[in-house]
């Protein structure tokens, strides 16, 4: 009996662990290192209608306990993703979640329409939270109305369930989450990166050519957990959690906060075997903590509070 399988809209996951978008390319590199079939799913790199080179380099900078990136959505473009990258991934029995990006509503709609038809794409991840592009991206992610409208339009054309990826750079994450739920989102993925910066001591200038970049890694974990905790209590759609996950223990913490599955980003760069390692370790950790199935952990932090409030009433 599997203790890790999870059913989410569009996704029958053998386990709830997947690489996060932009941290795993289109899978080829990591396939040299291990069998991708062990993964619960794969979130592929953001796809835009046209090929994009992205930002000038340097594109990464290190911060205490984390990193900044300003890749700028570099990708080979919709056509090539659909004709080359996705077909290559078909050799694996792993559902693909396609990360959809763009500068205008039309961009998102176009990518969603086409990419959602690919046989191995089981869900879309609507990236309204990329901090590293000048137009679109995060603008959609900080305005509830815009986020809702975009979600609606994408839902209208998508052949698979749509997850919306939320930005943490907002005053009120719950209002954005509710707006996209209203717009018809089937699920949420959170969080994308926090906007940050580093400056070079010698020159006084930003280390990143793009000046600012997205903060990821262990440092963002407490922010991600807090947001998932807040949002999961207010929406009725599932959350795929991410932000600084490094270990099986971290996965459980995200489930406690309210996640139903998780993605691992930055840690793939540090330990390329982190996903299979976590998947291996989860069953034993569940045993240790006294759970039969990982789904028992979802929302345990607030579900217990509810129960507690109930008992007192």
């Amino acid at each position: 009996m599997s203790r890790l399988n999870i059913e989410l809209p569009g996704l029958s996951l053998k386990n709830p662990v997947m690489p996060a978008s932009g941290c795993f390319g289109f899978g080829k590199e990591y396939s040299q290192l291990y069998d991708l079939n062990v993964l619960g799913a794969i979130m592929i790199k953001a796809t835009t209608p046209e090929p994009r080179f992205g930002n000038p380099t340097p594109r990464v900078a290190e911060t205490p306990g984390g990193m900044l990136n300003a890749i700028g959505l570099q990708n080979p473009g919709l056509e090539k993703v659909v004709s080359e990258e996705l077909p290559w991934l078909e050799q694996y029995e792993v559902p693909i979640i396609a990360n959809v990006a763009g500068s205008t509503e039309e961009d998102y709609v176009r990518v969603a329409e086409v990419i959602s038809k690919a046989p191995n794409v089981h869900a879309l991840e609507l990236n309204i939270s990329c901090p590293n592009v000048k137009t679109g991206g995060i603008a959609f992610g900080t305005d509830p109305e815009m986020a809702k409208n975009l979600t609606k339009k994408v839902k209208a054309v998508s052949e698979v369930p749509v997850y919306v990826k939320l930005s943490p750079n907002v005053s009120n994450i719950v209002s954005i989450a509710k707006a996209v739920e209203d717009g018809g989102a089937d699920g949420l993925t959170m969080i994308n990166t926090l906007l940050g910066m580093r400056l070079d001591l010698q020159t006084g200038k930003p280390i990143l050519a793009n000046r600012t970049g997205g903060l990821s890694g262990p440092v963002v974990k407490p922010v991600a957990l807090r947001m998932i905790y807040e949002v999961s209590q207010q929406v009725h759609i599932p959350i795929i959690g991410m932000g600084g996950i490094q270990s099986a223990e971290d996965v459980i913490e995200f489930f406690y906060a309210g996640a139903s599955a998780v993605a691992v980003g930055t840690q793939n760069f540090i330990d390329p075997f982190v996903c299979p390692t976590i998947i291996d370790e989860l069953p034993q950790l569940l045993t240790q903590l006294g759970y039969q199935h990982i789904s028992e952990c979802t929302g345990r932090s607030w579900k217990q509070h509810e129960q507690f409030a109930y008992h007192r009433a």
Partner: protein
């Protein structure tokens, strides 16, 4: 094959000002052949610092199952690395990237190796392999100052070797290109690694028909997945075609990418 190996420190010593030579052993050596490739090092467990550091392979010793890296102690990562003592382990991912192709130089031909500062190390394994093949090697090594000079004798034992220093405290005062421009023999192949201005000058000078340059770029994954280390191709300098320094490089032929 790329593997993640916990290598053992065989020895560590300072060989010039801020320059350390670290010899490691581990089964990763079985995977090492081509010179000019690099390893991605997690200098300490935990998150301080978090990212791996790319460092070139300077020498491979298949018999003793050892390899050497030479690095400059500068920031937190290399400072922690410099503290490693014999017997301790170091977390190595590699070997990574495309290195210098020994096949480009034919037996009896002349290869000129041009290194600047911490660009010198990968040229050492290259020199050894070229000489073993029967290629004539001339090495031109540029440093800031006398105190920064290292490995001169090692290169000298493999062929004609020139050293330049910027401040003139050792060898010839000036830049490697001063020597390169004045060489009597015409090089068949040039292999170079060093600071970007140096690489640019070498590319521009067209000192040989075949020129190979090893680039540096800030890296995330080191294996081609994160798109941190891309550069434009020379024939499409503002378009969307690109090369990744970590997998397509770090060694490129002159004219391949925009540097």
């Amino acid at each position: 094959m790329i593997i993640n190996d916990q290598c053992t420190v065989v020895s560590q010593q300072q060989i010039a000002e801020s320059i350390f030579e670290l010899v490691l052993s581990g089964k990763i050596v079985e995977e090492m052949n081509e010179p000019g490739r690099f390893v991605h090092i997690k200098v300490t467990e935990g998150l301080d610092p978090m990212l791996r550091r790319p460092i070139s392979i300077a020498a491979i010793n298949k018999r003793s199952n050892e390899f050497t890296i030479i690095y400059r102690k500068q920031g937190r990562g290399t400072s922690l690395l410099a503290n490693k003592k014999s017997g301790e382990t170091v977390d190595i991912l590699g070997p990574l990237g495309n290195g210098f192709s020994v096949a480009e130089a034919n037996i009896g031909e002349t290869a000129v190796l041009v290194g600047g500062g911490i660009g010198v190390p990968p040229l050492y394994e290259l020199a050894k392999q070229l000489v073993a093949k029967g290629v004539k090697v001339i090495s031109i090594l540029g440093f800031q100052s006398q105190s920064a000079v290292f490995y001169e004798e090692k290169f000298a034992s493999l062929g004609e070797t020139y050293v330049t220093t910027v401040d003139g405290t050792y060898g010839k005062k000036g830049f490697v290109t001063d020597i390169l421009g004045g060489l009597v023999v015409q090089p068949d192949v040039i292999y170079s690694c060093g600071p970007t201005p140096m690489l640019k000058a070498i590319e521009k000078g067209q000192y040989a028909a075949k020129v190979f340059l090893s680039l540096e770029e800030r890296m995330g994954c080191g294996i081609g997945a994160c798109f941190a280390c891309v550069c434009h191709t020379k024939d499409d300098p503002t378009g969307h075609t690109y090369k990744k320094v970590c997998t397509d490089g770090p060694v490129f032929e002159a004219g391949e990418v925009a540097i």
